[in-house]
């Protein structure tokens, strides 16, 4: 099939859609990356087969029950499981199946749809629906179901907070804003039970990626009409995903049961999934007490678990990210490049990361090792190498010679998960130790932080960037490009740096591209636009009886997040020993 081209204008529209749904630029970029990485099969790439591949000696357990949670997963009750109305309901996505889904590499692939085609310019999309698509009560989940679901989200009477997610659909916005009242004019139409035609406001080559996102999951019409807002209670819920909701004890636990009517049921091995509601402060305790078999880990527990008898259960999962410092070049004393250089060589990275208890390792550039564009040359390593003598030498001739006369310096960071603050405090400590720079650490509420950051108001910032997709364009252009008009984190601008990024973007040859980015990194570090400090690691733990995690192209096991949420269909339990 020929995929219609996706123009830059269309990508801008896509971003607007996602922003309207409350999604950040990060999610947009993740989805955009998936689109960019699509192979020749386009939207119709075949999903990976899911049947468990047992290792020799392994035996499927009789009891296919998985208990998961903790470490930040479901720390409180979802408001509902109605993703069709509210994509931030924080319900269980495994109850649902959309037309498309994202695979472990963030690419959209068909799911309830069996085939996706479009007209030439991508303004009309046709989804052929699997004929074995069923609701959990056994009735057919047809094109009509999706037509109704999309219209329900757009219907002003539903008051879906993120309805703008579907504004690409013809007349979707007008219907949602009550400019037209006849739902028949909305561009979603079931041509037959098994063919859904979506007419858009214009060419939208990315539409199938939207159809894979949480907000495009369907809702069951008879249940919604009968039970109103109580339709996702366990007693009422009819869904179309790999699992059904057997029980939902508020504040206690949710129990999922395999859905025998799910079209992919034969590839789903788990019979039951139990999700206890566990506050993040409980740490790994429930996991260690065998109350759960799969959990995310926080920094307070990692070392203890890793060094314990069951250390092998801990695994790292993909979460490439970089912690760095932003000295604001418009604010004293950082307007002086000598001060910035002193700071950059005053950071004892080896020691700072010790504080993270394994959730960080020393960084000498933006891109973590193992990812495209990662740089490990003596030249780059030397620029901001820890060297307190050199740091003090940079201060010669400045008003701060010998580490004296520092003005009041406030280091700002955002209030976030455990482990960020001790790192920042360690940075404070080494700055004091190396160049006698006293700093006050200010932890700002998320929204306040972002607003002040984007106004470039903060004097000195402790911040991280989590990679959205494995390409240096994301790590440099999306973060540091000087001509960005929105969401710029720093006042620092450098024309030579920008030029390298533009060349990197426009060059096809991979080797040459990477040379441009390496040059950019060198420029940025020499001018101290930022100070890389640490790369991020994330960990989860699974009992040896839990198997079947999908691996991404980098070979790491992936776990559910807001884009990929296909984990539970892949997992299976094996007998002990």
């Amino acid at each position: 099939m020929n995929r219609p081209p996706i123009t830059d204008q269309q990508m801008a529209l896509l971003e607007q859609r996602l922003a309207g749904a409350g999604l950040g630029r990060r999610q947009f970029l993740q989805i955009a990356a998936g689109i960019a990485a699509m192979g020749a099969a386009g939207w119709n790439a075949t999903p990976v087969a899911a049947a468990p591949k047992l290792a020799p000696g392994e035996k499927l357990a009789k009891d296919q029950t998985l208990r998961l949670g903790g470490g930040g997963w479901w720390q409180s009750d979802p408001s509902s499981h109605d993703y069709n109305k509210d994509l931030y309901c924080s319900g269980v996505p495994a109850l649902w199946a959309g037309l498309m889904k994202f695979n472990a590499d963030f690419q959209a692939v068909p799911y309830v749809a069996s085939k996706v085609t479009s007209n030439k310019d991508g303004s009309v999309w046709t989804f052929e629906i699997r004929k074995d698509s069923r609701w959990s009560d056994g009735t057919a989940c047809t094109a009509h179901s999706f037509e109704w679901s999309f219209k329900r989200q757009l219907d002003p009477a539903t008051a879906a907070p993120y309805a703008s997610f579907l504004y690409d659909i013809k007349n979707g916005e007008a219907f949602n804003k009550k400019k037209i009242t006849d739902p028949k004019e909305v561009g979603v139409k079931a041509k037959s039970d098994w063919v859904l035609e979506v007419t858009l406001e214009g060419p939208r080559g990315y539409f199938p990626a939207l159809a894979a996102y949480l907000a495009a999951l369907p809702a069951h019409q008879p249940s919604v009409e009968k039970h109103k807002e109580k339709w996702t209670e366990a007693a009422n819920l009819v869904c179309n995903g790999p699992f059904t909701l057997e029980k939902w004890d508020r504040g206690k636990e949710m129990v999922l049961k395999k859905n025998p009517h799910f079209f992919g049921a034969k590839d789903v091995t788990l019979e039951r999934v139990i999700i206890p509601i566990i506050p993040v402060a409980s740490g790994a305790l429930p996991y260690e007490n065998n109350e759960i078999q799969l959990t995310a880990l926080q920094s307070g527990d990692l070392r203890r678990l890793q060094s314990g008898p069951n250390g092998k259960e801990v695994f790292r999962y993909p979460f490439p990210g970089t912690w760095y410092l932003l000295p604001q070049v418009t604010k004293a004393p950082f307007d002086n490049v000598k001060v910035r250089r002193a700071v950059s060589q005053a950071i004892d990275r080896e020691n700072v990361v010790k504080v993270s208890q394994g959730f960080a390792f020393p960084a000498h550039s933006m891109i973590p090792p193992g990812f495209p564009g990662a740089i490990d040359t003596p030249k780059i390593r030397a620029i901001q190498k820890f060297d307190p003598k050199a740091a003090l030498a940079h201060l010669k001739g400045t008003p701060f010679e010998g580490g004296k006369n520092w003005p009041k310096i406030t280091l700002s960071m955002r209030d976030e998960a455990l482990g960020a603050k001790p790192l920042a405090e360690a940075v404070q400590a080494v700055l004091l130790e190396s160049i006698n720079m006293k700093t006050d650490l200010e932890v700002l509420e998320q929204r306040v932080f972002r607003e002040r950051l984007w106004k470039n108001e903060l004097q000195f910032v402790w911040i991280r960037w989590f990679m959205d997709y494995p390409d240096p364009h994301n790590e440099y252009f999306d973060t540091f490009y000087g001509k960005k008009t929105t969401g710029r984190r720093q006042a620092w601008v450098n024309d030579a740096f920008d030029r390298e990024l533009e060349l990197g973007r426009d060059t096809r040859d991979t080797k040459k591209r990477m040379e441009h980015y390496a040059k950019a990194e060198e420029i940025m570090q020499t001018d101290v636009g930022y100070v890389p400090v640490a790369w991020v690691s994330r960990y989860a733990a699974a009992k040896p009886t839990v198997r079947g995690f999908e691996k991404n192209k980098q070979g790491e096991q992936v776990v559910d997040g807001n884009i990929y949420f296909d984990m539970m269909t892949k997992l299976y339990m094996v007998e002990k020993g």
């Binding site: 926080q298 603050k421 405090e425």
Partner: protein, 275 residues
Amino acid sequence: MRDAIRRLRRNKLAMVGFVVVMILAFLAIFADFIAPYSYTKTNFGRLNEPPSRDYPLGTDQIGRDMLSRMIYGARVSMLVGLGAQVIVVALGVPIGAISGFFGGRTDLLLSRFIDVMYAFPRLLFVILVMSMLGAGLMNIFIAIGLTGWVGIARQTRAQVLAIKEKEFVDGARAMGAGLGRVLIKHVLPNALTPIVVAVTFGIPEAIFTEAALSFIGVGINPPTPSWGQMVGEGQQYLRSYWHLCVFPAIAIAVTMLAFTFFGDGVRDALDPKQK
């Protein structure tokens, strides 16, 4: 007055409280000489260590001496306790006194204002003020002071209302003393007892409020240590490194108890009828 002091000295619990408070005050004032290390001195080779000979209370997440940080934390607590009370008294006593003494429309307006302020949930209001002012010791004084004066204002008003009807007040007026003079020279000194009691109870309350603020991260900024902040950061590591949060939590509890015992003693001593 001598009577009161004798009663206070006979109260054993109150004296224990007093001694603890004095020790804390001593630690706070001479922290620079007593603490074995600077509160910023890190040892990256020895993170999260349990108590040992080098570090009697262990080290924290970035290898700082817990004992030294606790001693400096006492300074923050004592400063907050006293500093906030200064603002509380400076606001609460005049407002209460004026309201009670002048009565009429003035009293109506001020009393209603006091009622409105009283209706705010205290801690939430403090958090609101802190988020407007930003973290820092001075701002904690202000935030606690701005929200804490209401109780003292009510107490003062009630006392002034009762005292201004007494004969000696009429006598002073008859002698030709002005209203202001009567209020300051004759009424207020006689209303002092409940104010002193309110202040002794206000100190632990302020200390606890600071601990709560720092616990949730809007109080004292690192690296300056505060007990509440230490508990807040340490509680996430309770399972792995218990000492991070247990010692500062004990310090807060002991301080609160000491002030409360002492405050109880002061109240009983000054006003034996209430016992």
